[in-house]
Symmetry: D2
Subunit: 346 residues, 4 copies
């Protein structure tokens, strides 16, 4: 059994990871660390685990966790992550980090979008961006994986085939993304209270959201040229799910069928990427609680534009589920082990 530790086990991404790993056939828990709740049973904080996970939450002790584990998942607040990773990096343990710190090839890009110096630039060399469908081989060899953002996973996978096959003009890409409230984490801010969110929606961080740079990095890599694009996140009153609606101008005449075939071919053999047939569009309920990415599209022949809609569960494929997918790859396990369930739908 793989001994796994979760540092930051009581945030939403962390606890979803624990939920998934609790049924993973090849994993046993080592440290479940929580600064806020150390000393309490997990099932005291999250009673849904009673009779399922009987562990006690422990203090955040990165070195001990590293020594006791084959893999450590860090799902810590931005600041905490910075301190912890370097301590883990010296050890033999494999690391999957949920923060933005190790998702970048370029220290400059990170520092520009995060507005602060990188705490461990030397690790950027060895860290791998954990978008499984794009970087499987590097992930397999990696000891430190930067687990991708939720918006970015959803958006990059929606555009990668179009960029790779040079079907679109890359100078006018627009991504309009809508996210559920779990994306904000387990928050006590009034902004995320039930009464402020229910029946409401809004856009936020237009032109400045950090995930923009992550999407641009990956699409630029595929295009072998620098791509810049518009990314607008929205807050929607659902718990789980992201839907990205992506717009790009076609550089030729294409039918829906032709572009759908490009997607099906590009993602051939990918268990978690499901391409919708002509006339079908993805919906959150078909991916919620699962690690699937549903992608549908429509060509607007009148305007020579393609609209691609992609959909994931932000805390599964957008966080905890993809982390498990990365772990499976890093340990040579079947990639879908423990995450091959259908979405809840209801």
């Amino acid at each position: 059994m793989i001994k796994a530790s979760v540092l930051g086990a009581t945030g939403y991404a962390g606890v979803e990871l624990v939920r998934i790993l609790s049924k993973h056939p090849a994993v046993s828990f080592s440290h479940l660390a929580s600064r806020s709740y150390a000393g309490k049973a997990l099932s005291e904080v999250y009673p849904n685990f009673k009779n399922v996970v009987s562990l006690e939450l422990c203090e955040l002790d990165p070195v001990a966790a590293a020594n006791d584990s084959d893999i450590v998942f860090t799902a810590l607040p931005h600041g905490a992550s910075k301190e912890v990773i370097p301590l883990l990096a010296d050890k033999k343990v494999k690391i999957i980090d949920f923060s933005g710190d190790f998702r970048y090839k370029s220290r400059e890009v990170y520092e520009k979008w995060y507005g602060e110096p990188h705490s461990a630039p030397e690790l950027l060399e060895k860290s791998v961006y954990g978008l499984c469908e794009l970087h499987r081989d590097e992930i397999a060899k990696a000891s430190l994986v930067g687990n991708p953002g939720c918006y970015t996973t959803c958006s990059i996978l929606a555009l990668a085939p179009l960029v790779d096959k040079e079907i679109i003009h890359t100078d006018n890409i627009i991504i309009d993304a809508k996210s559920g409230v779990t994306g904000a984490g387990r928050s006590s801010s009034t902004d995320y209270s039930f009464c402020e969110c229910d029946g409401n929606m809004k856009a936020y961080k237009i032109a400045t959201h950090r995930h923009t740079s992550e999407i641009e990095q990956e699409l630029s890599l595929i295009a072998k040229e620098e791509i810049t694009l518009s990314f607008t996140p929205h807050l929607i009153p659902i718990k789980r799910g992201i839907l990205s609606t992506c717009y790009a101008n076609l550089n030729g005449e294409y039918t829906d069928g032709e572009i759908i075939d490009v997607f099906k071919d590009y993602y051939k053999g990918e268990y978690f990427v499901r391409i919708c047939d002509k006339g079908v569009l993805p919906e959150v309920k078909n991916v919620a609680g699962s690690n699937f990415v549903d992608i549908g599209l429509c060509v607007d022949r009148r305007l020579g534009r393609v609209v691609v809609v992609s959909c994931i569960d932000n805390i599964v494929k957008g966080a905890a589920g993809q982390a498990v997918q990365n772990m499976n790859i890093m340990f040579g396990l079947p990639e879908s082990m423990g995450i091959d369930n259908a979405a809840f739908y209801l």
Copy 2:
């Protein structure tokens, strides 16, 4: 008192109109007609009206309604509307129609997007498009007003100043719109059941939604050139509200403040249009239950693009409220009479 009749009083747009008119100081009800519920008290079908409106729902009799009323609102299903309007048009009564039939200058455009011959093309001449902020003077003289669609009201007002002031390139406009479920009307379709909608979201009718043509008509009029654009509607699990996120490429360098000033100037004196200050974006809860349109924007200087976000209550400013605003204009009443309340917020 103005004698008002509502044909189709038990659909969501119709009943919202009745709710607003029930407190309008200058209006008394004549016919409240409902095919489904004729003979029942309104308060039997909608118990929220008990002790407020004591009328009985009557059969759909357009001629009688016309004879007994100063104004007739038709909030009927697409088909029914077609039959009824011609019967009303001969009479002296003023008409505000909620269907798409009288929103168009061009019969061809209507027939192209609706896929059927227009039933009363001769009325297109005299009908006026009831987007109050743009056509106030014609509306004041009109006897037949085509009440605008919900998506269109929200989207046109977000883009009109940019088009009018020639601040943007008009060849790359993209509107990503999100609507609450009341937009689908009072529906018994499984697609709109609580269990299918709650926790879900989806895009639909990409590149083919009829409101596209309405938005293009109005923006083209302002631009004095033909504008085509992308419009993508989404279904969001809230009852009331539309949020339109609009993207366009700027034809020069502008700051947020400069463009905000353009909007404030363009809508100077407009009670129902509220332009957000720099750094503020609209939210549905600030307009839900009210006739206000909130508009905020952000310039992406990095990309030379502007993102405008607009927000309305789809069944108030997007339907019943704007109809009352039109009525107020047609009868020379203060434009905000009976619709000057703040949004519910909660």
Copy 3:
């Protein structure tokens, strides 16, 4: 015009009061005081008021408020209310307090259920319990009104006729109440965050909720004997609304119709109390946003028991709306002035 001040204008009860008063034909605002937001425009904190209320929020200055107003509404946190009321009580101004402090006849009962000494016991003499349908005459003469709790308004009105007409045994009354989340106020507690509340429900404070004592006081007054009862509150993922399901054993054989007649007779002439006909039960959507109380019932002849269901909007009839109803009574205005609108339904 009546000059009204609201102390605590930015909590949910306070801001709902401002929303209602902003359209009240006989009221103008004096002080809108907010500790958290003094100095800001109300429309900065609650943008739904832009173009509707242009006032700035001021510091909490009870004496100044009293001097500048005909009536002061105190919608302050429990502690703050204690300090403020005595300062107001010396003045000529009329006071409507939203806290629990002045709802009690007996200082002992208050201190037992609130677990602390009463701060101004001498005022209990002159204060009147503001449940309009039961204490209209005292309210008309009162200078200090203790505005009833939300659960209590809903529950007392559901049981008063049965107790008054001695139709039930008073030793086995059970009230199972369900409330929307606004009942918790504008909260930044994780317990009331969207992700913790949406899709969830729970009971809380079983056998210990303070409103129990308020209900017992009023029903005991009617019964002229001490009544004790079970009251269980539940948290439901809606914003507005309370539904109380009340159980009592009948002391004889009755039909639905007979008991419905008792209710209709008991509440004859009461505009805000609507008794459902046989076979009809109240629903939150029929009262949300309105000051109405809907009451329906069903006799279980098999068990000799009656089940009464009552429904209100917790922040309107359960707080701000009833406060305005009290104000109307205190100033000799038509009781429904400014609060006679139908529920939103949608």
Copy 4:
């Protein structure tokens, strides 16, 4: 592998059963029958199954299903179930029926509450009531199991220990139950549309809901005397979950701890029944998506009454999950196989 067929695979109970069985290590699918969608792939109707279940939905052919299966689950509309069961009953196949038809010991009780003659009274002899925690041994030997109702499972388990240990008076039991909307099935009725349910709640079928008789049957069996009780169902705007609040008068003095111990003892060794510690109450989010039953309680010493709150997922422990638990028992498998996951929480 156990060959399992689901007749009625596209209703909510049926499709949830398919979702659970799709990950059950000991089960393979035989017939997935759907009258509405025969001939379509399951993943066309429910796209969440794409890449997980690749079966096509077939016509409803009970005999063929029986011949091809070790167990047949019937999750059909009331009428359809009646016709199908007798055809299956002759065969060697084991049957778990989701309808009310085989939950009763007494034909008279069934006919009284269902208002129609029973279609196969001869089968009542051999059928077993599938409330696993109460009838495990009979279920192990049964060939026909009547899978319990959702409200009944939740309510019976909350009261069984009190009745069995004779801690309460049985003449004044009141059950106030709240259910999510999936309880109504996959409905196209306007009553269950998003806009009618969201933000709303209501009671329904007071004193007449069929589940009353099921609860009375089981508690009477335990009490060895006839018990009658009040049961009131409510509709709450969530998808999954039932919460039952049960009231009973104690026949002596007890502390919370004493009664909690009675429950813990009564359910000792029951994996799926989780008794909350003193001061803790169950919440839907802790059981949603799982087969667990959470039970908490509070003694009201002032009134000599106990309030027990129980919570389940209505389509898991209240339907599909308990059906799988029954199957596990019938085939001698570990009782929690395939249903031992934690609740979703989010």
